[in-house]
């Protein structure tokens, strides 16, 4: 397998400037439901116009190009170091070209690395498999929505949330109300029930790799997703928190086993500018297929 920096640059540019089809469709549907002349409709009209402009210009949908998460499924004999190096080169180049903002800052000195590279940036999530397929998915996640993500340890006496599905529902709805419009609503939730503090958050973010129009295979979780969507959209928070009918565009829930002592519900909030794309590569490292 040849790793091709140009391929990764194209993946970054596309992710930064084009919403996946499932998200764009859902936003357009929400736009039609808000009343004409309302602030909510004004927000969604602006968002739809922005989506069109970003695609035409090949430029970032949002100036906060976020934290960079790379989910790679590689054949077991692939040279992972070479893959990482090629991807990091693409990130540096994408930053120079303005596909990514200079977004990596030392927390102590305040120094911006200027090329998006540094400890923890980007975040690679690599899985090896026995087959020969190579799939690379990219998630760019803005800070506004990351800041309103939340984790709950059950039981939670303030929410009357116990260690069951109703307890999880209470936590998730609480997170939506606390977020208000600050995560750039209408948002999409990735949720993990179970796991520990690290794996719970990580798996909640991984839910965002699922398409909104593909139903959850777990019937209980699918029902919870539907309940959350119905309830959250009755809260009246609306686009940007201006009030209105659309507070959430989607809810994606997964579960991990827990240890008997712990029961976490981890909620990752994703803004409407849901930047997620993916590619399957051929043996020359070129794009064989777009995944979303």
């Amino acid at each position: 397998m040849q790793w091709n920096t140009e391929t990764f640059l194209e993946l970054i540019r596309t992710t930064s400037s084009q919403l996946p089809e499932d998200i764009e469709k859902t936003i357009t549907r929400a736009q039609r439901e808000e009343e004409k002349g309302s602030a909510a409709r004004f927000a969604l009209d602006s968002i739809v116009e922005n989506i069109k402009l970003a695609k035409e210009n090949g430029r970032p949908l949002c100036q906060d190009t976020g934290s960079i998460h790379i989910y790679a499924t590689l054949p077991k004999d692939a040279d992972e170091n070479a893959f990482r190096e090629a991807f990091c080169l693409a990130i540096g180049s994408a930053t120079e070209k303005g596909y990514l903002r200079q977004n990596s800052v030392d927390p102590i000195t305040g120094k911006n690395s200027g090329n998006n590279l540094g400890p923890g940036s980007p975040a690679f999530h690599v899985i090896r498999h026995a087959g020969n397929q190579t799939e690379i998915r990219l998630l760019l996640k803005g800070g506004g929505c990351e800041n309103v993500s939340a984790q709950y340890a059950l039981p939670d006496k303030h929410l009357d949330a116990f260690r069951d599905i109703e307890g999880a529902r209470r936590c998730i709805l609480d997170a939506v109300v606390k977020a208000q419009g600050k995560g750039c609503a209408p948002g999409i939730l990735g949720v993990c029930i179970g796991g520990d503090r690290t794996t719970g958050y990580e798996f909640s973010k991984e839910q965002l790799l699922r398409k909104l129009d593909e139903p959850n295979e777990d019937a209980v979780l699918r029902k919870l997703e539907e309940d959350i969507m119905r309830d959250a959209n009755e809260l009246g928070i609306g686009p940007m928190g201006f009030g209105g009918k659309t507070t959430l565009l989607g809810c994606l829930i997964g579960k991990l086993n827990r240890i008997p002592a712990s029961y976490y519900v981890s909620v990752t909030y994703m803004c409407w500018a849901y930047r997620r794309q993916g590619v399957r590569l051929d043996n020359d490292g070129k794009i064989a297929e777009w995944l979303y």
């Binding site: 602030a39 949908l61 949002c62 906060d64 506004g144 609480d174 419009g181 928070i237 940007m240």
Partner: protein, 189 residues
Amino acid sequence: MVILETPLSGEVVKTLNVGDIVAINGTLITARDLLSKHLYEGNASPIPLKSQALYHCGPIVLDNNGEWEVVAAGPTTSARQEPFAWKIIEQTGLKALMGKGGMGEKTAKACKEHGCIYLHAIGGAAQLLAEKITKVKSVHFLEEFGSPEAMWEFEVKNFPAVVTIDTRGNSLHHDILSKSEKALTALLP
């Protein structure tokens, strides 16, 4: 849609109400976390801020052989400026703050006392809003704070936003929070 010209007139700003959609012509000056703290600490602003509008924004700006090109410039979360904004309004005579996600009680109080408003730009709409920026007039603190945190002075035309805190201290954010908390209580008996 109400057209606002900068420098902003106190009389015009006072007529605005929560929920009004406005478009700004003139100048927007960016300020986010580092600059807000810098001004809060009493340091002088290199650009006079009286009657101006401060924009909570960390843009992407490219240097094309000495010509600045604004590539993306949507708002950032204003809540992080809450500890600083009241004092900046008081000290400088700003007439508008703009960002996203709203601001809290301290800022609403300062708006009421000093005739300032908070404008909510559309979060994430970085292309739509960058198109309304016609020119980079100046930049300060570029080396010191880095590009996203620098103080960019933009010339803008028809830059759209919604008034969510007015000069009477009304706050759409406060109202929506109360309503949604009530609705949540009904959903979680």
